[in-house]
């Protein structure tokens, strides 16, 4: 919870630099009074990078003080917050499945992706825990943001030199995967429309097994 508060403040501060010059810290108490679920909604919303994120969260906190109830159908701002944060949450979940790593010389696992929202932090938390002993680089090429994960920690990173070459094993494993992907489909049940719903075209460039047909 504490790290979440910190992260939300960081995100808002960034916005603040451009728009407002006052006190994010005055929200501190209000943030801490929120239940975890509501807080998560606000955090996800802040990742959407919408134009009105800062104003909407101020509005929300102001209203929330009196109401303490979240009727998300009655208020257009509330509705926008819930709706958008749901979309952000969904994208995080999707990329937990869609992100593809490749093994680079030097023992790194590298993945690049172009998410609609700025989800690199919550996403890398997932992989930092999952693959504790791996040196992981996740790269949002749309925003040119990168993180380095190791031993359950996430560090901000900057890509300064060119990405190292893939290992020899990488080619073997990735071609095994592509072969597997082709062979496990049942041709009598062919259904490209369903596949398109499940794997949106906008993400296909970052998914190994779809990249060939897309380019």
């Amino acid at each position: 919870m504490n790290t979440l508060v910190k992260r939300l403040k960081e995100t808002l501060n960034k916005k603040q630099e451009q728009l407002f010059v006052h006190q994010i810290d005055s929200f501190d108490k209000t943030f801490r009074e929120l239940d975890k679920k509501t807080f998560q909604i606000l955090y996800n919303y802040s990742l959407s990078e919408g134009n009105t994120v800062y104003e909407d969260i101020c509005y929300f906190l102001e209203k929330y003080k009196d109401q303490k109830i979240l009727n998300f159908s009655s208020d257009p701002v509330f509705e926008r917050i819930f709706h958008t944060s749901q979309r952000v949450k969904r994208e995080i979940h999707r990329f937990k499945g869609f992100l593809r790593f490749k093994e680079l010389k030097g023992g790194y696992l590298y993945a690049s992706f172009k998410p609609e929202y700025n989800i690199i932090l919550p996403l890398s938390r997932h992989f930092a825990n999952r693959m504790m002993k791996e040196k992981i680089i996740i790269h949002d090429t749309k925003r040119d943001l990168a993180v380095f994960c190791y031993e359950n920690r996430v560090y901000p990173a900057k890509i300064e030199s060119s990405i190292p070459d893939e290992t020899a094993l990488e080619k073997i494993i990735s071609s095994l995967w592509i072969e597997y992907f082709e062979k496990v489909a049942i041709k009598e049940r062919f259904n490209k429309n369903l596949q398109r719903q499940k794997v949106p075209l906008k993400y296909r460039n970052s998914i190994l097994e779809f990249r060939r047909e897309h380019v």
């Binding site: 009655s74 073997i172 062979k183 009598e188 259904n191």
Partner: protein, 409 residues
């Protein structure tokens, strides 16, 4: 390096994936386990899909056979003894290595290992368990593993298998003893059911045991649909028993796809996908909507309606039950309204204490208005010109225009 020294690994994976694809189960859900000890991998309660193949089915687990050699001769199976196809077997180390390398590239959420039978059931299971042990111990793999239990395995082998897997399953394949002995003479219904009971009991006994993985995700099974003449009633009756008596987590339905020329099997031009879809819907009604099987199908009415989903079909047969008042009715009644699922029903219950709804509000809560509007009132106010009690036929017509099949067939 092992993989470089594996001649024909590419061909093996290709063959063994093709041999495993007809098993429909792929869930990676039901077990939430964090990675606490610098291992490789964790599991998520909700499961994660990693890709979707050109048939629209998700890939979550590396679904693969250990071998496609088999001593059995089941008529519906591509790997049956008498088929003249290339045969191969993986080594436990090869399988573990491929799983590990796929997992760390985030291709998959874990492993779903099944197999043809080589020598005998126990011998085959032992090799599969060896692969799991290498994966769990040498590669410190902490991700999801679903292991198929081969029929006729001994209890001690099954006990060992359960220790290393997150979920186990044994496939019934055909819903009656008669069909099973007709098409899969090597399999016995009673023996499969006994094994299931043993698995349920073992999982229950090991519930608090911390030393193994102990199949905390429970067990599942699969039924093939449309290869034999059983009705939907017979199939769902069996599922309902399996859920209640044998405590299964999931029953999967697999629309029969002809892979062999065999006079004992029906000739189908295409797989019964709509029927399969309706069975899943009925299955969901039994598990999440509080429906009893008798309300969905009966001996007199043994098939599900293809035109309407089973919930809408039930509603049309039980118009006396409606309208349900959204502002007052209990959860169980609201859940019976077509167009309202558990999520929106829970939201309604939670929010109605504080405010009243319009039809538009309900839409925002996730209710499918075009279906629900015929069956509800809000504080006594009706929203449909076709009031429920008015005209059954007209209601049917209206709904059949607005209801679209969930599947793009």
């Amino acid at each position: 390096m092992l993989i470089k020294n594996s001649p024909g690994l590419y061909e093996k994976i290709s063959l063994l994936a093709g041999g495993a694809k007809f098993d429909v189960s792929c869930a990676s859900s039901g077990v939430s386990r964090k990675n606490n000890h610098s291992n490789m991998g964790n599991t998520s309660k909700f499961g994660i899909c990693h890709s979707w193949t050109s048939d629209g089915r998700c890939i979550s687990l590396l679904k693969i056979l250990f071998t496609n050699f088999c001593i059995n001769d089941c008529a519906y199976c591509i790997n049956r003894k008498k088929n003249d196809i290339p045969r191969t077997i993986l080594s436990p180390e090869e399988l573990a290595k491929v799983t590990y390398e796929f997992y760390r590239r985030n291709y998959i959420e874990g492993l779903f290992l099944s197999s043809g039978i080589i020598n005998n059931a126990d011998k085959t299971m032992e090799m599969m368990i060896d692969a799991l042990k290498i994966l769990r111990i040498k590669y410190k793999f902490n991700g999801y593993i679903h292991l198929k239990i081969i029929p006729e395995s001994s209890q001690s082998t099954i006990l060992e298998a359960i220790k290393w897997a997150d979920r186990v399953s044994i496939n019934i394949e055909l819903p009656t003893e008669k069909s099973l002995s007709y098409l899969a003479p090597d399999k016995k219904m009673t023996s499969i059911i006994n094994t299931m009971n043993f698995i349920s009991k073992t999982i229950e006994d090991l519930k608090d045991d911390k030393s193994g993985y102990n199949a905390k995700g429970g067990q599942s099974t699969q039924l093939i649909i449309g290869a034999t003449p059983e009705s939907d009633f017979e199939i769902l009756k069996l599922s309902s028993l399996l859920y209640k008596k044998n405590r299964l987590k999931r029953v999967y339905y697999s629309g029969y796809i002809p892979v062999n020329n065999d006079s004992r099997l029906p000739a189908l031009s295409k797989p019964p996908l709509l029927r399969e879809h309706r069975l899943y819907q009925a299955d969901w009604l039994m598990r999440f909507y509080g429906f009893n099987i008798d309300e969905i199908v009966s001996p007199d009415n043994p098939y599900l309606n293809e035109k309407f989903d089973p919930k809408l079909d039930w509603a049309l047969r039980n118009l006396d039950f409606f309208p349900v008042d959204i502002a007052k009715a209990p959860y169980e009644m609201i859940l019976r309204v077509p167009g309202i699922g558990p999520t929106s029903a829970k939201r309604i219950i939670k929010l109605r204490k504080y405010c009243s709804f319009t039809l538009n509000d309900l839409k925002k809560l996730g209710v499918v208005i075009k279906r629900a509007k015929y069956f509800i009132t809000i504080n006594g106010k009706s929203y449909s010109v076709d009031k429920v009690e008015k005209n059954r036929e007209r209601l049917r017509n209206n709904l059949s225009e607005s209801v679209q099949y969930g599947l793009a067939l």
